[in-house]
Amino acid sequence: MSDQRHAAADESKMIDCGTAVRMLWDYLDGNLGPREVEAIQRHVNRCSHCFSHADFGQVVLDAIAQARQSQAVDPAAALRERVIARLRADGYEEP
């Protein structure tokens, strides 16, 4: 295939900014198929506007991941004991 025809094929795979933004969260979540991922990456690599969207989207997802980690601390064992004690009063016995 000539360079010209390669370029034409590339163009046909291009998506516009509206489509890229609509697909952005699914892209960052890893929920898209390989062809869609390729299309988004191709667009984002060439479009500074959508690049900044993707960048900022990743920032908020990373921040949410921080919140997830900080929330992952287990509640006190005493809390579990109180729940079990309430269950025992209702007939539950720990095996």
Binding site: G30, A67, L79
Partner: protein
């Protein structure tokens, strides 16, 4: 762009789980109800999720005492109705559903965050549409600890958005599982989640401005 590729690969395995449909056996199959096996099953299937249910109760009530009361009530209801649990289904989603139902029954409607119509929520999130930010602001945001700011921002979300963020982002339920807990279509879970993320972006930008990390932009400079 390398960073995007790495992040993409890192997140893929975790996110794929969101499309997992809870496996259920035919409804005619019930948990064995002899006393000892019932206790063993409850111990093995329900109690390991106590920390998750405790966090979910906290997110619903936003009060430590009320959260513990709700946790107690959830486990008591789960224990009393254990015979209705379908073997093979997802116990965590079942427990979340019990917790949410108990909370909605217990809390007076005006004590919960005022219910907002879906169109209003959409207008809110569409109006605040930052999504993109100049790369210098993104770099500054990425370089600081946003954990506390995002935690506050999540707590400030309208209830409909907050509960989706809590279940999908923080508890890592699949869209289908969250839809089951909230009794809404999977597509609604997805759209609320994405809109919530936009509101969180707005909150992070505001946080950065309040902290003097970035200059506030005038209306003419908004995207």
């Amino acid at each position: 762009m390398i960073a995007h590729h790495v992040q993409f690969m890192r997140r893929t395995s975790r996110r794929i789980a969101r499309y997992r449909v809870p496996v259920t056996l035919p409804p005619t199959t019930t948990v064995t109800d002899t006393s000892s096996s019932r206790q063993q099953e409850f111990h093995d299937l329900a109690l390991p999720w106590l920390p998750d249910v405790a966090r979910y109760a906290q997110s619903l009530t936003r009060d430590a005492t009320a959260a513990e009361d709700l946790l107690q009530e959830t486990y008591l209801n789960a224990w009393r109705h254990w015979h209705t649990f379908i073997p093979g289904s997802e116990p965590r989603a079942w427990l979340f559903t019990i917790a949410r139902n108990a909370w909605r029954k217990r809390a007076p409607r005006d004590a919960r965050m005022v219910a907002v119509e879906e169109q209003t929520l959409q207008a809110m999130s569409d109006a605040e549409f930052p999504l993109g930010a100049p790369s210098d602001i993104t770099r500054r945001l990425a370089s600081i600890d946003l954990g506390p700011a995002i935690t506050h921002a999540i707590a400030d979300l309208p209830e409909s958005f907050r509960e989706v963020v809590q279940l999908v982002e923080l508890q890592e339920l699949s869209y289908a599982e969250a839809a089951e807990v909230l009794n809404i279509p999977v597509g609604t879970v997805r759209s609320r989640l994405f809109r919530a993320r936009r509101l969180l972006q707005t909150a992070l930008l505001q946080h950065a401005q309040d902290a003097g990390l970035v200059p506030a932009r005038g209306p003419e400079e908004q995207p």
